[in-house]
Amino acid sequence: MPADTTATPPTTGAPARDAEPTATGGARLRAVLGRWEALLIGLLVLTAVFGQGISSEFLTGDSFTTGSLDLSEVALMALALTLVIVAAEIDLSVASVLALSSALMAELWNGGMPLELIMPICLAAGAACGAFNGLLVTRFGLPSLAVTIGTLALFRGLALVVIGDESVTDFPANYTDLAFGNFAGTFVPNTMVLFAILAVAFGVLLHATPFGRSIYAIGANEEAAYFTGLRVKRVKLILFTLSGLVAALAGIVITLRNSTAAANVGQGFELTAITAVLLGGVSIFGGRGTIAGVILALLLLGGIQKALLLSQSISSYWIQIVTGALLVGSVLGPNIARRVSEARRRGTSHTPEEGSTT
């Protein structure tokens, strides 16, 4: 589990990337994409074949539209969550922040405020929720798992307090159309355009800035990061704030997309978002993972869900089972692979030239 600086160094976790074989075209491709991302692409192709086998509707623009729309909010939240988990923390409260933002939006709208003013307020509220998490974790030294389980209940509770059991449905059509519609006549939903923009932004932030490098450093070894002069607490505080901000944005999106607001919106989304992040190859112990991997994992999750929904013979209840199995498998698989390769290496240790054929 993250957030415990006194914990023993993780012996489990994502596969080691340091033992990358050289030469051969396949290996070079793997070096570019990363072993995990290559595996995800393979699974995506499998899903495509499987999905097309289930229904000829699977590989159509229409199915992408509906499939990706359903995953819009989870996808947005997974981006910011990736950064949090790379820093070896966790934020379980994202779906509750989403609900709070949605409830706030509805309540202010009922109060007669224009949406142009409401949206910044919601975003600010979300950022404040994130900062609250971040302050409890960094200033009070509390484990983020416990803090965000607490705020998961707290923020959802506040959403209930704000909106009660009423639900609001009369949002202006120009905004709801924007959230529900497609981009410029294509099959790509507007929400996915928003996701793409944010994905690029978070990708650049994580992979191409000193700030992003410091996230990896903190996630890999917090103490070492601290002693090299990184401002660990401030970085973490920023990450939690970002996570809250993006969750609030997702709250706005889901409110407009469904053109309703109710306090129980998005219940359980945090689990899907975490599944996407871990399936994307981000280590739960921090310090490892890419935005590209998370995007592939989201595509995979969306593809599997859509395939099962399209299927006539397979019950859609399987979605939950498959999602859970993927989550466990994404960590279990590499562990088993490592054990097997270790056992093989031990077995052939007396002939070292043969040992490198992995």
Partner: protein, 347 residues
Amino acid sequence: MSAQAAAPPPAAEGARARRLTERVFRVRELGIIVAFLALVAVTGILEPRFLEAGSLRNLALNASIFAILAVGQTLVLVTRNVDLSVGSVLGLSAYFAGDLLSNHQGLPIPVVFLLGIALGAACGLFNGILVTWGQVPALVVTLGTLYMFRGLAFLWTNGTQVNAETLPDAFLNLGTDSVLGVPFLVLIALVVMLAVGQWLRDYRAGRELYAIGSNPEGARLAGVRSERRVLTAFVLAGALAGLGGVLFTARFGTVDATAGFGYELTVIAAAVVGGVAIFGGAGSVYGAAMGALLLGTITSSLIVLKVAAFWQQAAIGALLLLAIAFDRFVALRVEAALRRRSARRAG
């Protein structure tokens, strides 16, 4: 957390340290009891009907199933793991029990209990094997099985539900009957709590759970068979969730695939509020059960006081945050006290 601080000092020092940390524990559990009594008193003054026997009985009944789950969760939390799948396991077992009883009328009730517990234990075994043999973090495993077990329940029920009319009366009476004035459900919760509490306190295997949680590496070096113990903790937590499922059916009669949805949150909150450290090594089942009672009472008293029910969840969240902040504060103080003491000895 406090036991973590108490681990290193040598023998003579250890006794004193243990006395100190034990005192802290006792104060911690006393704090919950005081909070509980204060809450009941204040609610009772504002609304005397809250103190009537029927109302208090309901309070205890509502808390019993959560208390049983919280006891199971404590076993897992103490080893520095977590079980998020308890709500889903409860759902599976609740439907299983209802399904068994309505389709096989002659089945003796104890057999249903045993089968429900066995189903829960099997789920726990699955979790435990993935955590120990698979070396997958418990957070990931149980998040995954939270989905999988719930999905299985949906697949199994296929949209149907078990109705109270199809269940034998003898079974449903278990949910409401009393023995010597104590409701049967409460009695079961008490027995579970005392048995597990004794096991954790006085038996080697129980003590080793704490050792694993407060210092995994140290426990391994001291010859504790960590994997086996952690596996045991998960199996027991699963079995107790299975028991909770059967009791759920007895109490509510009507069961569908959503039984116990979201329970994991309340259960973990109960344990943590009751003083079980979320990073292992500290806490008792008594505290956890008291935590369950306190959370249940908050919910009931908010309803009685006609505070909008919407505040319930916010209150639970706030209480959880308060509890961990308080524990952190106490742990830091104890650590400082122990350091001062050993410094004085050395000098």
